[in-house]
Subunit: 256 residues, 2 copies
Protein backbone atom coordinates (compact mmCIF):
# COMPACT_ATOMS: atom_id res chain seq x y z
CA UNK A 1 0.00 0.00 0.00
CA UNK A 2 2.95 2.32 0.47
CA UNK A 3 3.84 4.24 -2.62
CA UNK A 4 7.41 4.81 -3.59
CA UNK A 5 9.45 6.80 -1.16
CA UNK A 6 10.09 9.86 -3.27
CA UNK A 7 6.55 11.10 -3.04
CA UNK A 8 6.58 13.03 -6.30
CA UNK A 9 2.90 12.76 -6.98
CA UNK A 10 2.69 11.59 -10.53
CA UNK A 11 5.96 10.24 -11.86
CA UNK A 12 4.69 10.35 -15.41
CA UNK A 13 4.20 14.08 -15.58
CA UNK A 14 6.21 15.46 -12.71
CA UNK A 15 9.20 17.28 -14.08
CA UNK A 16 9.83 20.21 -11.76
CA UNK A 17 10.55 20.62 -8.06
CA UNK A 18 6.94 21.38 -7.28
CA UNK A 19 4.25 18.85 -6.51
CA UNK A 20 0.56 19.68 -6.67
CA UNK A 21 -1.12 20.13 -3.32
CA UNK A 22 -3.33 17.31 -2.19
CA UNK A 23 -7.05 17.85 -2.49
CA UNK A 24 -8.43 18.06 1.04
CA UNK A 25 -10.91 15.36 1.96
CA UNK A 26 -14.32 16.83 2.66
CA UNK A 27 -15.89 16.46 6.06
CA UNK A 28 -18.65 14.08 4.90
CA UNK A 29 -16.06 11.99 3.08
CA UNK A 30 -13.97 11.72 6.24
CA UNK A 31 -17.01 10.67 8.21
CA UNK A 32 -17.89 8.05 5.61
CA UNK A 33 -14.29 6.84 5.67
CA UNK A 34 -14.52 6.32 9.40
CA UNK A 35 -17.67 4.27 9.11
CA UNK A 36 -16.26 2.18 6.27
CA UNK A 37 -13.09 1.59 8.25
CA UNK A 38 -15.13 0.57 11.28
CA UNK A 39 -17.05 -1.96 9.20
CA UNK A 40 -13.92 -3.29 7.57
CA UNK A 41 -12.21 -3.76 10.91
CA UNK A 42 -15.23 -5.45 12.41
CA UNK A 43 -15.89 -2.70 14.95
CA UNK A 44 -19.27 -2.34 13.26
CA UNK A 45 -21.02 -5.51 12.23
CA UNK A 46 -24.25 -6.11 10.32
CA UNK A 47 -27.36 -5.23 12.34
CA UNK A 48 -25.40 -2.95 14.63
CA UNK A 49 -27.12 0.36 15.27
CA UNK A 50 -25.14 3.54 14.84
CA UNK A 51 -25.54 6.27 17.46
CA UNK A 52 -28.37 8.71 16.80
CA UNK A 53 -27.56 11.37 14.23
CA UNK A 54 -27.56 14.24 16.70
CA UNK A 55 -25.29 12.40 19.08
CA UNK A 56 -22.96 11.03 16.42
CA UNK A 57 -22.65 14.47 14.86
CA UNK A 58 -21.65 15.88 18.23
CA UNK A 59 -19.06 13.20 18.91
CA UNK A 60 -17.55 13.59 15.46
CA UNK A 61 -17.53 17.35 15.74
CA UNK A 62 -19.58 17.99 12.61
CA UNK A 63 -23.02 19.41 12.02
CA UNK A 64 -25.97 17.18 11.46
CA UNK A 65 -26.39 18.02 7.74
CA UNK A 66 -22.75 17.12 7.19
CA UNK A 67 -23.18 13.84 8.99
CA UNK A 68 -26.35 13.19 7.02
CA UNK A 69 -24.49 13.69 3.76
CA UNK A 70 -22.09 10.99 4.82
CA UNK A 71 -24.88 8.64 5.87
CA UNK A 72 -26.78 9.33 2.64
CA UNK A 73 -23.75 8.33 0.68
CA UNK A 74 -23.31 5.16 2.69
CA UNK A 75 -26.97 4.32 2.31
CA UNK A 76 -26.92 4.86 -1.44
CA UNK A 77 -23.90 2.58 -1.53
CA UNK A 78 -25.85 -0.03 0.40
CA UNK A 79 -23.61 -0.15 3.46
CA UNK A 80 -26.16 1.20 5.86
CA UNK A 81 -29.90 1.51 6.22
CA UNK A 82 -31.72 4.35 7.94
CA UNK A 83 -35.33 4.16 9.01
CA UNK A 84 -37.28 6.94 10.55
CA UNK A 85 -37.93 6.46 14.21
CA UNK A 86 -35.77 3.39 14.31
CA UNK A 87 -32.20 4.39 13.70
CA UNK A 88 -29.39 3.68 11.29
CA UNK A 89 -28.18 0.10 11.09
CA UNK A 90 -25.21 -1.45 9.35
CA UNK A 91 -26.13 -3.71 6.45
CA UNK A 92 -22.88 -4.62 4.72
CA UNK A 93 -20.47 -7.18 6.05
CA UNK A 94 -16.75 -6.68 6.30
CA UNK A 95 -16.31 -8.91 3.26
CA UNK A 96 -18.32 -6.55 1.08
CA UNK A 97 -16.22 -3.59 2.09
CA UNK A 98 -12.89 -5.36 2.31
CA UNK A 99 -11.61 -4.24 -1.06
CA UNK A 100 -13.06 -0.75 -1.31
CA UNK A 101 -10.65 1.79 -2.62
CA UNK A 102 -7.98 -0.83 -3.12
CA UNK A 103 -5.24 -0.18 -5.62
CA UNK A 104 -4.93 -2.51 -8.59
CA UNK A 105 -1.62 -3.29 -10.20
CA UNK A 106 -1.65 -3.78 -13.97
CA UNK A 107 -1.09 -7.48 -13.39
CA UNK A 108 -4.19 -7.68 -11.24
CA UNK A 109 -6.25 -5.81 -13.79
CA UNK A 110 -5.29 -8.37 -16.42
CA UNK A 111 -6.05 -11.19 -14.03
CA UNK A 112 -9.56 -9.82 -13.70
CA UNK A 113 -10.06 -9.16 -17.39
CA UNK A 114 -8.80 -12.61 -18.31
CA UNK A 115 -11.29 -14.13 -15.93
CA UNK A 116 -14.21 -12.04 -17.10
CA UNK A 117 -13.92 -11.19 -20.77
CA UNK A 118 -13.58 -14.64 -22.35
CA UNK A 119 -16.65 -15.65 -20.41
CA UNK A 120 -18.46 -12.54 -21.64
CA UNK A 121 -17.61 -13.52 -25.20
CA UNK A 122 -18.88 -17.03 -24.61
CA UNK A 123 -22.17 -15.79 -23.17
CA UNK A 124 -22.58 -13.25 -25.96
CA UNK A 125 -22.15 -16.02 -28.53
CA UNK A 126 -24.67 -18.18 -26.73
CA UNK A 127 -27.36 -15.54 -26.34
CA UNK A 128 -27.08 -13.43 -29.50
CA UNK A 129 -29.78 -10.88 -29.01
CA UNK A 130 -30.31 -9.08 -32.30
CA UNK A 131 -29.94 -5.56 -30.88
CA UNK A 132 -26.71 -6.48 -29.14
CA UNK A 133 -25.34 -8.22 -32.22
CA UNK A 134 -26.05 -5.13 -34.26
CA UNK A 135 -24.15 -2.95 -31.80
CA UNK A 136 -21.24 -5.37 -31.73
CA UNK A 137 -21.10 -5.61 -35.51
CA UNK A 138 -21.06 -1.84 -35.75
CA UNK A 139 -18.29 -1.49 -33.16
CA UNK A 140 -16.19 -4.00 -35.07
CA UNK A 141 -16.87 -2.26 -38.37
CA UNK A 142 -15.88 1.10 -36.90
CA UNK A 143 -12.59 -0.30 -35.70
CA UNK A 144 -11.78 -1.89 -39.03
CA UNK A 145 -12.68 1.27 -40.88
CA UNK A 146 -10.43 3.39 -38.69
CA UNK A 147 -7.58 0.94 -39.06
CA UNK A 148 -7.97 0.72 -42.83
CA UNK A 149 -8.01 4.49 -43.12
CA UNK A 150 -5.25 5.50 -40.70
CA UNK A 151 -3.19 2.36 -40.19
CA UNK A 152 -3.89 2.29 -36.47
CA UNK A 153 -6.72 2.81 -34.02
CA UNK A 154 -7.12 4.67 -30.80
CA UNK A 155 -8.95 2.09 -28.75
CA UNK A 156 -10.78 -1.18 -29.09
CA UNK A 157 -12.78 -0.50 -25.95
CA UNK A 158 -16.05 -0.06 -27.85
CA UNK A 159 -15.75 -3.67 -29.02
CA UNK A 160 -14.94 -4.90 -25.53
CA UNK A 161 -17.97 -3.04 -24.20
CA UNK A 162 -20.20 -4.31 -26.98
CA UNK A 163 -19.22 -7.88 -26.14
CA UNK A 164 -19.90 -7.21 -22.48
CA UNK A 165 -23.27 -5.75 -23.25
CA UNK A 166 -24.18 -8.65 -25.50
CA UNK A 167 -23.42 -11.12 -22.72
CA UNK A 168 -26.39 -9.77 -20.75
CA UNK A 169 -24.89 -10.35 -17.35
CA UNK A 170 -24.94 -7.22 -15.18
CA UNK A 171 -22.49 -8.50 -12.58
CA UNK A 172 -19.84 -9.46 -15.11
CA UNK A 173 -20.35 -6.32 -17.18
CA UNK A 174 -20.06 -4.14 -14.13
CA UNK A 175 -16.96 -6.00 -13.01
CA UNK A 176 -15.35 -5.32 -16.38
CA UNK A 177 -16.17 -1.62 -16.08
CA UNK A 178 -14.65 -1.70 -12.64
CA UNK A 179 -11.46 -3.22 -14.02
CA UNK A 180 -11.37 -0.65 -16.79
CA UNK A 181 -11.78 2.11 -14.25
CA UNK A 182 -8.43 1.11 -12.75
CA UNK A 183 -6.96 1.64 -16.18
CA UNK A 184 -7.13 5.39 -16.04
CA UNK A 185 -4.37 5.99 -13.55
CA UNK A 186 -1.14 7.77 -14.39
CA UNK A 187 0.71 4.48 -14.26
CA UNK A 188 -1.47 2.97 -16.94
CA UNK A 189 -1.25 5.99 -19.18
CA UNK A 190 2.50 5.67 -18.99
CA UNK A 191 2.36 1.97 -19.83
CA UNK A 192 0.09 2.60 -22.75
CA UNK A 193 2.15 5.40 -24.19
CA UNK A 194 5.29 3.28 -24.11
CA UNK A 195 3.74 0.00 -25.20
CA UNK A 196 1.01 0.99 -27.59
CA UNK A 197 2.70 3.47 -29.86
CA UNK A 198 0.78 3.48 -33.14
CA UNK A 199 3.50 1.62 -34.97
CA UNK A 200 3.08 -1.28 -32.55
CA UNK A 201 -0.54 -1.81 -33.49
CA UNK A 202 -0.26 -4.77 -35.78
CA UNK A 203 -2.70 -6.19 -38.20
CA UNK A 204 -2.91 -9.08 -35.80
CA UNK A 205 -4.74 -7.01 -33.22
CA UNK A 206 -7.43 -6.04 -35.62
CA UNK A 207 -7.64 -9.56 -36.84
CA UNK A 208 -8.31 -10.87 -33.34
CA UNK A 209 -11.07 -8.37 -32.88
CA UNK A 210 -12.53 -9.29 -36.24
CA UNK A 211 -12.49 -12.97 -35.38
CA UNK A 212 -14.17 -12.47 -32.03
CA UNK A 213 -16.95 -10.47 -33.60
CA UNK A 214 -17.44 -13.13 -36.22
CA UNK A 215 -17.46 -15.99 -33.73
CA UNK A 216 -19.99 -14.25 -31.54
CA UNK A 217 -22.23 -13.52 -34.50
CA UNK A 218 -22.06 -17.13 -35.59
CA UNK A 219 -22.72 -18.39 -32.10
CA UNK A 220 -19.39 -20.16 -31.83
CA UNK A 221 -19.10 -19.72 -28.11
CA UNK A 222 -15.97 -21.70 -27.39
CA UNK A 223 -14.03 -20.11 -30.21
CA UNK A 224 -15.15 -16.61 -29.27
CA UNK A 225 -13.96 -17.11 -25.71
CA UNK A 226 -10.63 -18.50 -26.84
CA UNK A 227 -9.88 -15.71 -29.28
CA UNK A 228 -10.82 -13.09 -26.75
CA UNK A 229 -8.54 -14.73 -24.25
CA UNK A 230 -5.54 -14.78 -26.56
CA UNK A 231 -6.26 -11.20 -27.55
CA UNK A 232 -5.99 -10.17 -23.92
CA UNK A 233 -2.88 -12.25 -23.38
CA UNK A 234 -1.18 -10.55 -26.32
CA UNK A 235 -2.23 -7.17 -25.04
CA UNK A 236 -1.00 -7.98 -21.55
CA UNK A 237 2.35 -9.28 -22.71
CA UNK A 238 3.03 -6.23 -24.84
CA UNK A 239 2.06 -4.00 -22.00
CA UNK A 240 3.96 -5.66 -19.20
CA UNK A 241 7.10 -6.83 -20.97
CA UNK A 242 10.17 -5.59 -19.19
CA UNK A 243 8.10 -4.54 -16.22
CA UNK A 244 9.80 -6.15 -13.27
CA UNK A 245 8.43 -4.15 -10.37
CA UNK A 246 4.79 -4.79 -9.99
CA UNK A 247 4.28 -4.40 -6.26
CA UNK A 248 1.41 -6.84 -6.40
CA UNK A 249 2.98 -9.01 -3.73
CA UNK A 250 3.44 -7.53 -0.31
CA UNK A 251 3.99 -10.78 1.52
CA UNK A 252 5.98 -13.90 0.91
CA UNK A 253 4.30 -16.78 -0.87
CA UNK A 254 4.30 -20.04 0.94
CA UNK A 255 5.82 -23.34 0.01
CA UNK A 256 3.90 -26.49 0.67
Amino acid sequence: MNTSEKVSADPSEDAGPFAPVVAPRSAPAQVADQVVAAIREGRLRPDDRLPAERELARTLGVSRPTLREALAGLELAGLVRSRQGHGTVVVASAAVVANWGAEMTPTQVFEARLAIEPELARLAAEKRYPEDIAVLRQAGADLEEEFARTGHYRSDLPVHRAVARAARNPVLATALEEALRHTETARWKELRSSALRPEVIREGHVDEVRRVVRHVIRGEAREAAEVWRTHLVHYRDEMLTGLQIDAGHDAEPLET
Copy 2:
Protein backbone atom coordinates in the same frame (compact mmCIF):
# COMPACT_ATOMS: atom_id res chain seq x y z
CA MET B 1 -43.39 12.68 -4.59
CA ASN B 2 -46.42 10.60 -5.52
CA THR B 3 -45.92 6.89 -5.19
CA SER B 4 -47.36 4.46 -7.67
CA GLU B 5 -51.06 3.84 -7.48
CA LYS B 6 -51.38 0.08 -7.26
CA VAL B 7 -48.49 -0.76 -5.04
CA SER B 8 -48.04 -4.38 -6.20
CA ALA B 9 -44.61 -5.18 -4.88
CA ASP B 10 -42.82 -8.36 -5.84
CA PRO B 11 -44.86 -10.73 -7.98
CA SER B 12 -42.56 -13.63 -7.15
CA GLU B 13 -43.63 -13.91 -3.54
CA ASP B 14 -47.10 -12.50 -3.67
CA ALA B 15 -49.42 -15.32 -2.71
CA GLY B 16 -52.23 -13.75 -0.74
CA PRO B 17 -54.57 -10.88 -1.41
CA PHE B 18 -52.27 -8.51 0.42
CA ALA B 19 -49.10 -7.03 -0.99
CA PRO B 20 -46.42 -5.60 1.25
CA VAL B 21 -46.37 -1.84 1.40
CA VAL B 22 -43.69 -0.44 -0.83
CA ALA B 23 -40.97 1.35 1.08
CA PRO B 24 -41.20 4.99 0.07
CA ARG B 25 -38.17 6.22 -1.80
CA SER B 26 -36.56 9.08 0.05
CA ALA B 27 -36.22 12.46 -1.58
CA PRO B 28 -32.43 12.25 -1.94
CA ALA B 29 -32.76 8.78 -3.42
CA GLN B 30 -35.23 10.03 -5.99
CA VAL B 31 -32.92 12.85 -6.93
CA ALA B 32 -30.02 10.43 -7.29
CA ASP B 33 -32.22 8.18 -9.40
CA GLN B 34 -32.91 11.03 -11.76
CA VAL B 35 -29.24 11.80 -12.19
CA VAL B 36 -28.37 8.15 -12.74
CA ALA B 37 -31.17 7.84 -15.28
CA ALA B 38 -29.93 10.95 -17.07
CA ILE B 39 -26.44 9.49 -17.30
CA ARG B 40 -27.72 6.14 -18.46
CA GLU B 41 -29.83 7.72 -21.19
CA GLY B 42 -26.98 9.90 -22.35
CA ARG B 43 -28.69 13.15 -21.36
CA LEU B 44 -25.70 13.72 -19.09
CA ARG B 45 -22.30 12.79 -20.45
CA PRO B 46 -18.86 12.78 -18.83
CA ASP B 47 -17.47 16.28 -18.26
CA ASP B 48 -20.92 17.82 -18.34
CA ARG B 49 -21.54 20.32 -15.57
CA LEU B 50 -24.67 19.95 -13.52
CA PRO B 51 -26.64 23.11 -12.72
CA ALA B 52 -25.56 24.92 -9.57
CA GLU B 53 -26.83 23.37 -6.38
CA ARG B 54 -29.15 26.24 -5.50
CA GLU B 55 -30.65 26.28 -8.94
CA LEU B 56 -30.93 22.50 -9.28
CA ALA B 57 -32.54 22.27 -5.85
CA ARG B 58 -35.14 24.83 -6.93
CA THR B 59 -35.74 23.01 -10.20
CA LEU B 60 -36.27 19.67 -8.48
CA GLY B 61 -38.37 21.17 -5.73
CA VAL B 62 -36.15 20.05 -2.87
CA SER B 63 -34.01 21.91 -0.37
CA ARG B 64 -30.32 22.31 -0.90
CA PRO B 65 -29.29 19.93 1.92
CA THR B 66 -31.51 17.24 0.43
CA LEU B 67 -29.97 17.77 -2.98
CA ARG B 68 -26.54 17.68 -1.41
CA GLU B 69 -27.29 14.34 0.20
CA ALA B 70 -28.05 12.96 -3.24
CA LEU B 71 -24.90 14.44 -4.72
CA ALA B 72 -22.84 13.12 -1.82
CA GLY B 73 -24.06 9.64 -2.60
CA LEU B 74 -23.32 10.02 -6.27
CA GLU B 75 -19.85 11.32 -5.51
CA LEU B 76 -19.12 8.45 -3.13
CA ALA B 77 -20.20 6.10 -5.91
CA GLY B 78 -17.82 7.86 -8.27
CA LEU B 79 -20.46 9.04 -10.71
CA VAL B 80 -19.91 12.71 -10.12
CA ARG B 81 -17.23 15.03 -8.87
CA SER B 82 -17.83 18.29 -6.99
CA ARG B 83 -15.18 20.94 -6.55
CA GLN B 84 -15.61 24.10 -4.60
CA GLY B 85 -15.96 27.18 -6.75
CA HIS B 86 -16.03 25.10 -9.88
CA GLY B 87 -19.21 23.08 -9.93
CA THR B 88 -20.31 19.47 -10.10
CA VAL B 89 -19.28 17.51 -13.16
CA VAL B 90 -20.27 14.07 -14.37
CA VAL B 91 -17.48 11.52 -14.29
CA ALA B 92 -19.04 8.17 -15.12
CA SER B 93 -20.02 7.12 -18.59
CA ALA B 94 -23.30 5.52 -19.53
CA ALA B 95 -21.52 2.16 -19.75
CA VAL B 96 -20.55 2.29 -16.09
CA VAL B 97 -24.09 2.93 -15.01
CA ALA B 98 -25.81 0.77 -17.59
CA ASN B 99 -26.43 -2.17 -15.30
CA TRP B 100 -27.09 -0.47 -11.99
CA GLY B 101 -29.96 -1.85 -10.06
CA ALA B 102 -30.48 -4.58 -12.62
CA GLU B 103 -32.20 -7.76 -11.56
CA MET B 104 -30.27 -11.00 -11.83
CA THR B 105 -31.92 -14.31 -12.55
CA PRO B 106 -30.47 -17.34 -10.77
CA THR B 107 -29.05 -18.47 -14.10
CA GLN B 108 -27.20 -15.19 -14.49
CA VAL B 109 -25.83 -15.37 -10.97
CA PHE B 110 -24.36 -18.77 -11.75
CA GLU B 111 -22.97 -17.49 -15.03
CA ALA B 112 -21.09 -14.88 -13.08
CA ARG B 113 -19.93 -17.19 -10.33
CA LEU B 114 -18.74 -19.77 -12.84
CA ALA B 115 -16.70 -17.11 -14.56
CA ILE B 116 -15.21 -15.68 -11.41
CA GLU B 117 -14.76 -18.35 -8.77
CA PRO B 118 -12.66 -20.93 -10.61
CA GLU B 119 -10.32 -18.11 -11.52
CA LEU B 120 -10.23 -17.00 -7.90
CA ALA B 121 -9.26 -20.52 -6.89
CA ARG B 122 -6.54 -20.58 -9.52
CA LEU B 123 -5.10 -17.25 -8.35
CA ALA B 124 -5.30 -18.28 -4.72
CA ALA B 125 -3.33 -21.42 -5.50
CA GLU B 126 -0.74 -19.42 -7.39
CA LYS B 127 -0.22 -16.74 -4.76
CA ARG B 128 -0.60 -18.59 -1.46
CA TYR B 129 -0.03 -15.86 1.07
CA PRO B 130 0.39 -17.47 4.48
CA GLU B 131 -2.28 -15.38 6.24
CA ASP B 132 -4.82 -16.15 3.56
CA ILE B 133 -3.97 -19.83 3.53
CA ALA B 134 -4.48 -19.95 7.28
CA VAL B 135 -7.91 -18.36 6.96
CA LEU B 136 -8.85 -20.73 4.17
CA ARG B 137 -7.67 -23.76 6.08
CA GLN B 138 -9.70 -22.69 9.08
CA ALA B 139 -12.82 -22.10 7.02
CA GLY B 140 -12.50 -25.58 5.52
CA ALA B 141 -11.91 -27.14 8.92
CA ASP B 142 -14.97 -25.39 10.36
CA LEU B 143 -17.12 -26.75 7.58
CA GLU B 144 -15.85 -30.30 7.99
CA GLU B 145 -16.31 -30.13 11.73
CA GLU B 146 -19.90 -28.96 11.40
CA PHE B 147 -20.67 -31.64 8.85
CA ALA B 148 -19.06 -34.37 10.92
CA ARG B 149 -21.00 -33.29 13.97
CA THR B 150 -24.43 -32.60 12.52
CA GLY B 151 -24.49 -34.40 9.20
CA HIS B 152 -25.06 -31.19 7.25
CA TYR B 153 -23.91 -27.60 7.15
CA ARG B 154 -25.59 -24.28 6.91
CA SER B 155 -23.40 -22.60 4.34
CA ASP B 156 -20.10 -22.98 2.60
CA LEU B 157 -19.89 -19.26 1.98
CA PRO B 158 -16.98 -18.79 4.41
CA VAL B 159 -14.89 -21.07 2.22
CA HIS B 160 -15.92 -19.27 -0.95
CA ARG B 161 -15.01 -15.98 0.66
CA ALA B 162 -11.72 -17.30 1.95
CA VAL B 163 -10.78 -18.42 -1.54
CA ALA B 164 -11.78 -15.03 -2.90
CA ARG B 165 -9.71 -13.27 -0.31
CA ALA B 166 -6.71 -15.48 -0.96
CA ALA B 167 -6.81 -14.63 -4.65
CA ARG B 168 -5.84 -11.04 -3.82
CA ASN B 169 -7.74 -9.46 -6.64
CA PRO B 170 -10.10 -6.70 -5.45
CA VAL B 171 -12.10 -6.49 -8.67
CA LEU B 172 -12.86 -10.20 -8.79
CA ALA B 173 -13.53 -10.43 -5.08
CA THR B 174 -15.91 -7.50 -5.22
CA ALA B 175 -17.65 -9.00 -8.24
CA LEU B 176 -18.23 -12.20 -6.31
CA GLU B 177 -19.68 -10.25 -3.41
CA GLU B 178 -21.90 -8.49 -5.87
CA ALA B 179 -23.11 -11.81 -7.27
CA LEU B 180 -23.74 -13.11 -3.75
CA ARG B 181 -25.71 -9.99 -2.96
CA HIS B 182 -28.23 -11.02 -5.61
CA THR B 183 -28.62 -14.26 -3.71
CA GLU B 184 -30.58 -12.76 -0.88
CA THR B 185 -33.83 -12.15 -2.67
CA ALA B 186 -37.08 -13.93 -1.89
CA ARG B 187 -36.76 -15.98 -5.05
CA TRP B 188 -33.40 -17.35 -4.00
CA LYS B 189 -34.52 -18.14 -0.49
CA GLU B 190 -37.32 -20.15 -2.00
CA LEU B 191 -34.94 -21.99 -4.31
CA ARG B 192 -32.61 -22.79 -1.45
CA SER B 193 -35.30 -24.03 0.84
CA SER B 194 -36.61 -26.43 -1.79
CA ALA B 195 -33.29 -27.56 -3.22
CA LEU B 196 -30.95 -27.55 -0.25
CA ARG B 197 -32.88 -29.36 2.38
CA PRO B 198 -30.38 -30.82 4.86
CA GLU B 199 -30.89 -34.37 3.62
CA VAL B 200 -29.74 -33.25 0.16
CA ILE B 201 -26.35 -32.17 1.41
CA ARG B 202 -24.24 -35.09 0.34
CA GLU B 203 -20.80 -36.07 1.41
CA GLY B 204 -19.80 -35.11 -2.12
CA HIS B 205 -20.33 -31.44 -1.41
CA VAL B 206 -18.04 -31.45 1.54
CA ASP B 207 -15.55 -33.50 -0.39
CA GLU B 208 -15.40 -30.91 -3.17
CA VAL B 209 -14.77 -28.17 -0.64
CA ARG B 210 -12.10 -30.27 1.00
CA ARG B 211 -10.38 -30.91 -2.30
CA VAL B 212 -10.37 -27.24 -3.29
CA VAL B 213 -8.83 -26.24 -0.02
CA ARG B 214 -6.17 -28.89 -0.40
CA HIS B 215 -5.38 -27.95 -4.00
CA VAL B 216 -5.05 -24.29 -3.11
CA ILE B 217 -2.79 -25.09 -0.19
CA ARG B 218 -0.59 -27.24 -2.38
CA GLY B 219 -0.48 -24.65 -5.11
CA GLU B 220 -2.19 -26.89 -7.65
CA ALA B 221 -3.81 -24.04 -9.51
CA ARG B 222 -5.40 -25.89 -12.42
CA GLU B 223 -6.88 -28.57 -10.20
CA ALA B 224 -8.21 -26.03 -7.72
CA ALA B 225 -9.98 -24.13 -10.48
CA GLU B 226 -11.44 -27.29 -11.95
CA VAL B 227 -12.80 -28.60 -8.67
CA TRP B 228 -14.29 -25.26 -7.79
CA ARG B 229 -15.95 -25.14 -11.17
CA THR B 230 -17.52 -28.58 -10.84
CA HIS B 231 -18.63 -27.72 -7.33
CA LEU B 232 -20.52 -24.74 -8.67
CA VAL B 233 -21.97 -26.74 -11.55
CA HIS B 234 -23.32 -29.32 -9.12
CA TYR B 235 -24.74 -26.62 -6.92
CA ARG B 236 -26.34 -24.91 -9.90
CA ASP B 237 -27.88 -28.08 -11.28
CA GLU B 238 -29.40 -29.05 -7.96
CA MET B 239 -30.75 -25.55 -7.57
CA LEU B 240 -32.19 -25.05 -11.02
CA THR B 241 -33.44 -28.50 -11.89
CA GLY B 242 -37.05 -28.40 -12.92
CA LEU B 243 -36.96 -24.64 -13.14
CA GLN B 244 -38.35 -23.84 -16.56
CA ILE B 245 -39.25 -20.20 -16.23
CA ASP B 246 -36.12 -18.17 -15.85
CA ALA B 247 -37.07 -14.90 -17.51
CA GLY B 248 -33.46 -14.34 -18.45
CA HIS B 249 -34.37 -13.93 -22.09
CA ASP B 250 -36.63 -11.08 -23.02
CA ALA B 251 -35.90 -11.07 -26.74
CA GLU B 252 -35.56 -13.68 -29.39
CA PRO B 253 -32.09 -15.07 -30.07
CA LEU B 254 -30.84 -14.79 -33.59
CA GLU B 255 -29.96 -17.49 -36.03
CA THR B 256 -26.84 -17.17 -38.12
